[in-house]
Symmetry: C2
DNA sequence: TGGGCTTGCTGACCGACGGTCGACAGCGAT
DNA sequence: ATCGCTGTCGACCGTCGGTCAGCAAGCCCA
């Protein structure tokens, strides 16, 4: 009885007492003990599916725990917070994407960009729903830094490719490339959500045109046409 | 006593009783009664400042109410929800921006785009912090639809301007224009947060280049150079 | 077979959020 | 003076992300 009262009034402002697992005849849930690494893998896998289906905001930690058949504190035992869990799920999904889009460093930079872009668009074409959900979670503060990091690295990579050959690395080129990366997301969103009848190749052509035009407008240029 | 118990256990699942305003000798706060419209104006004004300073997520309704010197229920009396309050604040801010960027319909479409874009960039240059906060709130679900609406209308406007003269209105052109709108935000973010040393005119040149390139890549084109 | 020991795992809890309920009180009309 | 309108309030709800401290599965050693 005092338990209920203690729960009611947080007067003391800190934990007052502890009752123990089983009250009122409700038996604790049966559970399977798993190896640390195995549980972790299972959680990342399940979270990846769920985040891909519901996005970041629409999915609560309680729900993830329930869907994975475990308790919420266990989820927090494996991941320090929702952001970290999302990061793990994102990284797991990004590995496949990353492997597919890593350019061949022996090709000219413009070709590398074109090839990466096409691989990226192909991947999106096969994972439309999940990509849309991800994009829509983009500015959620907890998620933003993750994506910002990836974008910053990509911007630098493209600028590095441009620089030696004769492209520019002024502030305008940097703004152009970052803007271009955003334009990819915006165009892909129109493509996916607007159900536009476009092949990845058509998207690639349009986007490469945009990059070339922006760089030209910024006083730089792509070293060679793709 | 039973009231406290009722608070503890939401068994009945609905309000059970009411105690009355002043308990335990805490006097209700003194307040000033304002005209409906005046209060509303005050709240929108204060909310606009606060959202511009803290963004959408980092600002709670409780905080807004506190900063405005009123209670939370009163805030909800004037606005049905946080999203609506944000919309009101956004609209109030957007009126100034909208007035500044409305193009002269008697000019050729390409000039209209160029002029609107430059006005937009000038405005951003003067409201850097608030624009950054807004952009960073962009995908917050509650806010998204608002911005999506504006973007959709802008896309259609640009496509309409393109169409009669000889530009295209295929799916590729639509994706190109929507992507271009995103690229504006991305480039502006790099401009603002990266403290890039660029004038609005340089940004304009770069962005118009991107639009032209993307449209060319999509098989359309800007009717006339700006 | 039965004790310990490790550590994977649990229910109950916290503060803050967005949002709602029904009573109170400022103030012009009478 | 008092009455009604309605602007305003404190207390409350359900859910969120996150935390606390004890329970117990399953291996080890007798």
């Amino acid at each position: 009885m005092w338990v209920i009262l203690a729960r009611c009034r947080p007067v003391v402002n800190r934990r007052v007492g502890w009752v123990g697992g089983t009250i009122a005849g409700v038996p604790p849930r049966a559970y399977r003990r798993l190896e640390n690494e195995e549980r972790r893998r299972q959680l990342v896998e399940r979270a990846t599916e769920l985040f891909g289906e519901y996005g970041y905001e629409e999915l609560s930690m309680s729900r993830i725990a329930r869907e994975a058949g475990i308790s919420k504190p266990l989820l927090y035992h494996y991941f320090p917070g929702k952001r970290a869990l999302f990061a793990a799920a994102l990284q797991s999904a990004a590995e496949e994407l990353g492997a597919a889009t890593t350019p061949d460093p022996s090709r000219p930079p413009a070709e590398q960009v074109a090839a990466s872009l096409l691989a990226f668009l192909d991947w999106i074409d096969r994972h439309r729903a999940a990509y849309g959900k991800l994009l829509r979670s983009l500015a959620v503060a907890e998620v933003r830094e993750l994506i910002d990091d990836v974008r910053d690295r990509t911007v630098q990579q493209i600028l590095d490719g441009l620089n030696p050959q004769g492209g520019g690395d002024g502030p305008a080129a940097r703004a152009a490339v970052q803007g271009w990366l955003w334009s990819i997301d915006g165009a892909c969103l129109a493509w996916i959500e607007g159900d536009l009848d476009l092949t990845p190749q058509q998207m690639q052509g349009m986007l490469l045109g945009g990059l070339g035009g922006a760089l030209t407008g910024a006083g730089a240029s792509l070293p060679a046409p793709a």
